[in-house]
Amino acid sequence: MSNIVVGISDLNIGKGSDVLVTYALGSCIGICIVDPVTKVGGLSHIMLPSSTLNPQGNINPMRFADTAIPMLLRKMEAAGALRIRMKAKIAGGAQMFSAIGNGSLANIGARNVEAVKSALAKERIPIIAEDTGKNYGRTVHFSPGDGVMHIVSANKGKWDW
């Protein structure tokens, strides 16, 4: 087994006893997807809901929910996963500071959650667990072998989904 670290605006896949890790999600979202039969899993760490927010189109597609998710699926399929068996678990989308009045930041966590849900719905991948919103950071450890999404929070302890 190996630990595969997924950075910010990054995605990667793993298999069997690998553990995919992404650290300190704030308003960002970690999207864990697994095909339980082949045990191929993927993790994507997105920052923003939509690539249309970046009209120049010159920024990393792994940053946005609507472009990162299809990319992750293609990568998983290339590794042998089957779309029809895939299931998703998502975490993150917190609102770290309570009183942000600033337009582009207001509720970005919630907007990210919405965008991730609609991107997954578009690909017909069911979300079987969700640990989103609230006001604290989360680190995600995802094991494709058993499909468990392990969350470590700063202040609230740790738990499995």
């Binding site: 950075g7 942000i100 950071g137």
Partner: protein, 207 residues
């Protein structure tokens, strides 16, 4: 010409920003020092244009716990000011102000949070005033918003704000130390790209 992207900044611009950080943090350190009745030193500010993941690495790793305070800048200069206080530093502040000792972040109560916010408020005002009087630009600040969490999660807030503009953020990083105990905390000033041009023009620097 003009500054449209952080990569348009040359060495002279970087020096100017470093000097602004120096003056701002010098002023902030003085006010901190008088509030705590302790000597507070600052080191020469670092100016970096970095991916935000690297910023978290530089500040001790994404999962390190700290107190984060965020203020927005508006007026002639737009952007953000963030304070990242490590545990020892937070302890020093609470101890000096309220006589409390702090073993763990979970022990901070409402009174403590409010005291930390007030410190940030005063330091931010002195920081921004110094920059304002040097550049002749009017800068307003909001009251600070506070959270105690992993540094990576806290930094995701400015990172997301700038993510649709650029892959990178520029930040002016000041380190504070208290003489007796060598404790560190950071102030990050994150100016918007558009404001950089104004700062330079007002200081008579070619852009």
């Amino acid at each position: 010409m003009g500054i449209k992207d952080y990569s348009d900044l040359n060495d002279i611009h970087m020096d100017v920003l470093r000097e602004l950080g120096n003056i701002g943090s010098g002023n902030a350190a003085t006010s901190l020092s008088s509030m705590l009745a302790k000597t507070v030193d600052i080191s020469v500010p670092k100016i970096s244009v970095l991916d935000y993941g690297q910023v978290a690495e530089q500040l001790g790793g994404p999962e390190m716990m700290c107190v984060g305070l965020m203020l927005s800048l508006s007026g002639d200069v737009e952007g953000m000011l963030m304070f990242l206080l490590q545990k020892d530093f937070t302890h020093l502040v609470l101890n000096a102000l309220l006589g409390e000792s702090l073993q763990d972040f979970s022990e901070i109560n409402e009174m403590g949070l409010s005291a930390i916010k007030e410190i940030a408020n005063i330091m931010a005002a002195s920081y921004v005033n110094a920059i304002s009087s040097m550049t002749g630009l009017a800068i307003n600040i909001t009251v600070p918003d506070i959270c105690i969490d992993m540094v990576g999660a806290i930094l995701s807030v400015p990172a997301i704000h700038y993510a649709n503009i650029s892959d990178q953020i520029i930040y002016i990083e000041d380190e504070f130390h208290s003489m007796e105990e060598n404790l560190t905390s950071h102030i990050l000033m994150i100016p918007d790209v558009n404001s950089l041009g104004k700062i330079m023009t007002n200081l008579g620097i070619e852009i």
